[in-house]
Subunit: 317 residues, 2 copies
């Protein structure tokens, strides 16, 4: 996927999955600006007040570990579709990142994937011990819901939309979503017949789809736009996971900040592992094409999400 | 506390903390009826649909382990203060029980308290393994928020009250509440100078106080009534924890379904351990008296909460 990924990303009948060099620079500039806003928001919202210092430290250690902040970016992008600026949904954007972080902290535990490092740093439990890692994850999940609920105070956001956004998050990350996917992933290490698509639809896709719904709901999107956003989210989530798997096989260790080949070492069920690299790459392109098509009802308001989907397909880290 | 607990529960200047035999029977009948409604609600709301079977089993195993269902009973009792019937807040009542169960499942993990049994049965991780226990806990937390958010559909409950109830739960169980208390409790095993009151105010009290707020908010209580309910919750939560500690030292193993003396064996910081049995018992009476006094603004609408507080003080299990 490194290097000429853009050129490879054209499927004959579907949309053109190429960004011009200028468009690519514009995406990168926008990503930098949004990420800065999210980092600032997380820093403000993860206050020490009333939190036992060791717990607070463990939570911050995990949150500020250099993630891509994809999920908050998607919340902000979806809110824009309804004409709402990033500021208004920043607590919600931070909320989904906290929830994502909690899932990584728990996934890395010795009882789960037993990962000593993530993004080139020792994982939370290695630094703070298993008990604190369990508690930091638990606290991050609760704080995610807390931020979403307190987002209700943002002018122009109706409380019933906040409630629907909370329900979308809770369902997306629960036993029918992310936690269910993580369970299937764990069991898959023993039973190779499990469907890799189903696992990742739940494990990664459900939260990403929820991010689009949350942004749409809080941003004031119409029901039709919400449907389009959710469909986009499902396809982009799938594409994102496949590209992640491909980068694990093919990527540059320095760019990724983790050991490539780590999925294979853990006997994880991956897209290239099941379908081969070529077919997995085609699947990622197909899912991105579907994501782009899902944006059609949004017209020009879907432009940023369009460019973002193609950028994510052709990323090298 | 077994036997003549009622007679001991009178403090000279405060309210009389005694239930007549008839009142005690009435409390027990009401508790049985409410518990049955909660058990039925939990059974309905913990559906298998879309949840990986092993995960579903682990969640249900933990939820149906014979708990007292105190927290749902408090949600229902608080909703009644605003004139709302149990049915309307049953999803919220079940939500707090799921969240309480998640905290027990994680607390019992080898990395935490390492408890092989609870209520006379093997704990979740003993039966399903540590990974499933982490995931079952995570899924139960998310499902708690899911149920609360979907409670918004109950007629007569305004969405902004649902949002405030969710915020109350999230704060009560987060790093500034329950998870913070559990952290302090873990650290206390190494540092005996930690304040046992502060630990239990967070670890047990914060969720119990949230239950009163949630019931009050969803039940339509006035702001003044909400304040009274929250104060009652803080005091009842403290009394409940002290009585729990006393029962661990003095209680009948058969009635409790767990080994008494287990707190001492784990070097846990307890009220009788820090203050002695007599002073701890006085503290529980004082906290119950404060809870009863907090109900004064509610007049006759506080009757059930009044009797319940005294019943909880004089329970033998």
């Amino acid at each position: 996927m490194t290097g000429g990924g853009e050129q490879a990303g054209v499927s004959p009948a579907g949309p053109t999955l190429v960004l011009s060099p200028q468009a690519r620079l514009a995406v990168e500039a926008r990503l930098r600006a949004d990420r800065r806003a999210v980092e600032d928001g997380l820093d403000r919202l993860l206050g020490a007040n009333g939190v036992p210092p060791t717990l607070h430290e463990a939570m911050r250690y995990s949150v500020f570990a250099g993630g891509k902040r994809l999920r908050p970016l998607l919340v902000i992008a979806a809110a824009e579709v309804g004409g709402t600026a990033a500021d208004a949904v920043l607590p919600a954007a931070c909320a989904v990142e906290l929830v994502h972080t909690y899932s990584l902290v728990h996934d890395d535990l010795p009882a789960m994937d037993d990962s000593p490092t993530r993004r080139g740093r020792p994982t939370c439990h290695v630094v703070y011990g298993d008990a604190l890692a369990v508690l930091a994850g638990d606290g991050l999940q609760a704080l995610g819901f807390d931020l979403l609920a307190r987002n209700a105070g943002v002018p122009g956001i109706a409380p019933d939309r906040v409630v629907r956004a909370i329900a979308a998050l809770a369902t997306g990350i629960g036993a029918r979503g992310m936690v269910g996917g993580q369970t299937l992933d764990l069991l898959a290490a023993r039973d190779r017949s499990r469907d890799v698509r189903e696992i990742h639809r739940l494990k990664t896709g459900a939260l990403i789809e929820a991010c689009l719904r949350i942004g749409g709901l809080l941003g004031g999107a119409s029901d039709a736009a919400l449907d389009a956003l959710a469909r986009y989210g499902a396809h982009v989530g799938l594409a994102f996971q496949i590209v992640d798997d491909l980068l694990d096989v093919l990527g540059d260790e320095t760019a990724l900040g983790k050991h490539t080949g780590s999925d294979a070492a853990q006997a994880k069920l991956t897209f290239p592992g099941v379908f081969g690299v070529t077919a997995a790459r085609e699947l990622a392109q197909e899912a991105t094409a579907q994501a782009v098509l899902a944006l059609e009802p949004l017209g020009a308001r879907g432009r940023w999400l369009h460019d973002l989907a193609i950028y994510l397909l052709t990323r090298d880290r």
